[in-house]
Symmetry: C2
């Protein structure tokens, strides 16, 4: 029983210590374990199953837009990494270097990919010749390595899983269109599937990706009021094309450089799910992404007929297309409830001898703990519509939380006060000068999260930091 005890022991309350609460949840919901390699984690079945569902749904949405999957090598020769100046400056300090292959030292060091722009460019330089070869819309699912100093499960680890899309286009307009298209795929996925509302915006020059002309981002607000960058989409213009000489012959037989994009989402999304939806009993999974949507828990299961009826119910729920399991282990119903809650399974169905006699069962929502009774025959339909309601309500709750944690400020005093006392996004005007951005970060630790794509009314006409004329509205915040 040692294992059960660990699981249902109270976890740290999120209000007491949010960071510790997070760590408790990832461990006790059995999403990950630490490994012998500092900063690298083991993703356990409960965690990996969430990632599989994310992959499956994102991949489907990518393919609908014409994306094809490929696989590039995991190594990048040092000389290749160095071809694009900004890019190497951004990544070289945090890569892992392979210096020996088998028993011999390598002639040239290879880094383990931190991202694969350089590999795709090297490939496209050979593969693209004519306008008929364009566009190329390739994506890969893989792991990447960034030698971070401070690590946290899912949020920042030395190795993480992700997808990286890399496209090449004939024109600048088409590249920009693809950049925004993929940002919208990401945003819709977060809102419709993960029930996480996001701000779609553009990064400042300071915050953009190493080598990009423009970086777009979706920013989500965690329960503690910190922001999480949840997906990014970059427009490279023809910068990489010039560095790697990726040219095509256009219809008039002239050589032109391609225009490129890249876009990525990572296992960090699992961290977002935890921090947006979780509570003091553990994980709360949106039904659309939950590996198990319904857990049937028999009560007094040793009594005649209880397990048989519970099994019938499980089968009926499964036939209705729900992802359902039954917990018929020897643990007490109380333990089982706690486990199901810790793991964030959206609905639990309780079924005991009295329920069976009355021909009914009890459905309990994980998110609100609300109980409803229904006739056994109606359970599949009732559970299905409850799952829909949970998905919708979880989004609405997260959105209400996010919207109530946005503070508009006009002065620097208000800004500093908000960072200190009002967790969440701060909306404030900015002149566009990186000096102000640097000062704000130094004074408050808040960073420019993004400039929203959707037009929003100006808050004032001067920069919140320096007081000079300002036209850019920025979402600021502390971030993971």
């Amino acid at each position: 029983m040692a294992k059960d005890k660990k699981l249902v022991e109270a976890i740290t309350s999120m209000d007491t210590d949010f960071a510790q609460w997070y760590t408790d949840v990832v461990k006790k919901a059995e999403l990950i374990d630490y490994s012998s390699i500092k900063g690298c984690m083991v993703i356990k079945p409960a965690g990996y199953a969430i990632w599989e569902n994310i992959q499956h749904e994102l991949d489907r949405r990518f393919k609908e837009t014409g994306v094809e999957n490929v696989y590039m090598p995991m190594f990048i020769p040092e000389s290749l990494l160095q071809k694009e100046k900004d890019h190497v400056e951004g990544f070289a300090p945090e890569v892992a270097w392979v210096t020996q292959g088998g028993l011999s030292p390598l002639q040239e060091r290879l880094c383990v990919r931190p991202t694969s722009e350089t590999l795709f460019c090297d490939f496209y330089a050979n593969d693209i010749q004519s306008y008929r070869d364009l566009p190329k819309c390739y994506n890969q699912w893989c792991s990447v390595v960034r030698w971070e100093k401070e690590t946290r499960p899912f949020l920042r680890s030395r190795e993480f899983l992700w997808q990286e899309g890399h496209t090449a286009h004939a024109t600048a307009e088409e590249a920009e269109e693809r950049t925004i298209q993929m940002l919208n795929v990401y945003a819709d996925f977060c809102e419709e599937v993960l029930a996480i509302p996001v701000i779609r915006g553009r990064k400042t020059e300071k915050e953009k990706f190493a080598g990009a002309e423009a970086t777009y981002t979706i920013e989500a607000l965690m329960h503690d009021g910190k922001a999480l960058q949840s997906g990014t989409s970059h427009n490279f213009g023809d910068g990489f094309a010039k560095a790697f000489n990726i040219q095509y012959t256009d219809k008039d037989n002239k050589l032109q450089y391609v225009h490129q994009t890249s876009w990525g989402m990572t296992t960090r999304l699992i961290g977002a799910i935890i921090m947006v939806h979780g509570d003091d009993s553990g994980l709360v999974l949106p039904p659309a992404i939950a590996p198990t949507q319904v857990m049937v828990i028999p009560i007094q299961q040793r009594k005649d007929g209880v397990l048989e009826e519970a099994e019938k119910l499980r089968e009926a729920l499964g036939k209705a297309g729900l992802r359902v399991k039954m917990d018929d282990s020897e643990k007490s119903p109380g333990w089982k409830f706690s486990e199901q809650e810790m793991r964030g399974i959206p609905i639990r169905v309780e079924l005991g001898p009295k329920d069976i006699e009355a021909g009914k069962c009890v459905l309990v929502r994980r998110d609100t703990r609300e109980k409803t009774e229904c006739a056994l025959a109606d359970a599949p339909a009732a559970a299905a519509s409850l799952l829909e309601a949970i998905q919708k309500d979880m989004f609405e709750r997260a959105k209400a939380h996010r919207d109530s944690h946005i503070t508009d400020v006009k002065t620097y005093e208000m800004f500093k006060d908000a960072v200190e006392n009002k967790p969440g996004f701060i909306r404030a005007m900015w002149c566009g000068d990186v000096a102000c951005e640097d000062r704000i970060k130094e004074d408050t630790t808040a960073t420019a999260r993004c400039m929203p794509l959707k037009e929003e009314e100006a808050i004032s006409d001067v920069c919140v930091c320096c007081g000079k004329p300002a036209h850019k509205l920025v979402y600021w915040g502390k971030a993971y």
Copy 2:
């Protein structure tokens, strides 16, 4: 048109130069491209889509047996790799070493996983405590690195994609059962989905996996008569458990070592598909694994109504659940036929103005090139049943080829003659002495592929090499 030309240029005939034929097919069917990293390949969309189908179907079969997916770090600290003596001896000479992380040298070298037994053992040592935690049946899909000197696309590359299953059990019997169960999953998958007949067998001591008590294998015969090891399943007994101290408390509260297995299949399977089914026009894909099963090719497509009818037909075939595409590019029908053949698409549907007038279309099988006509309305049903026939016929043809390339020999002279003059498997008796195995390899380059699991009648009662009494029947052959 440069691209088209490249594609339909004749490839080397397989009878002239099988190795060059293979290289031509992987390149011209656009399965891979070479990369800047020696021995690592780029898997292009047409190649990766085959791998996705393999993954999807294998993963489904794994999960039906209770396997759960996880993800382990890609790095192994040197000290961890060294814990099991045979294992480190087998792998240390061919791993890539990371010696620097970011700007600092590492205190301990990390190898990029060549396989993950040591990582799973390290994890299981902490994760398994009681008999209630058993069995553990975990699998991961990932890439691994082995610093090979000679490389060939799909067959042997420095980085390749695979799945590796790692299980832990309470008893030796259960571990053996799982080892055989997974071998059978592999064999059934090869025969039912890839249409590749395999011999299920056990490896000799010399050929078994580094650290295993027993290695089981499925061996397929390529068109040129060489064998390809297509999947392996290992029983580790409690060897790794003792090296890593993986113990559990049994029902009587006594400490016991677990018994472990591992099993893997790789992108090498794509090489097997090419070399078993391909012909001088390129790839021939079994319908069950083909990313595109049917290609609709309009004839005289500029004539009124042709494209519309072709599109209607494509839709109807898609609605019937077939994976169908239409090639309405500006190329000539002849080019399109050659492309469809090079890519191995199982059926091409030709539809021109005369066909439309007659309310019919022409179905052409890729494997036999046989043409059949059918009424437009019957096309979906006709194509579906033709796909079934192709799948079945491809397996039967490969099996007939395999069976006609097995030579039984009783004497060493016959053995040497068979290696020289009769490409294929050689069945011969063996005394069990590694000295004979070594001598055979030195004299002939043939190796012991496996000792078949299915009982086969003895060929003689003495070893083909030394003449001493022998009870083991072995399949020998040259191998990739």
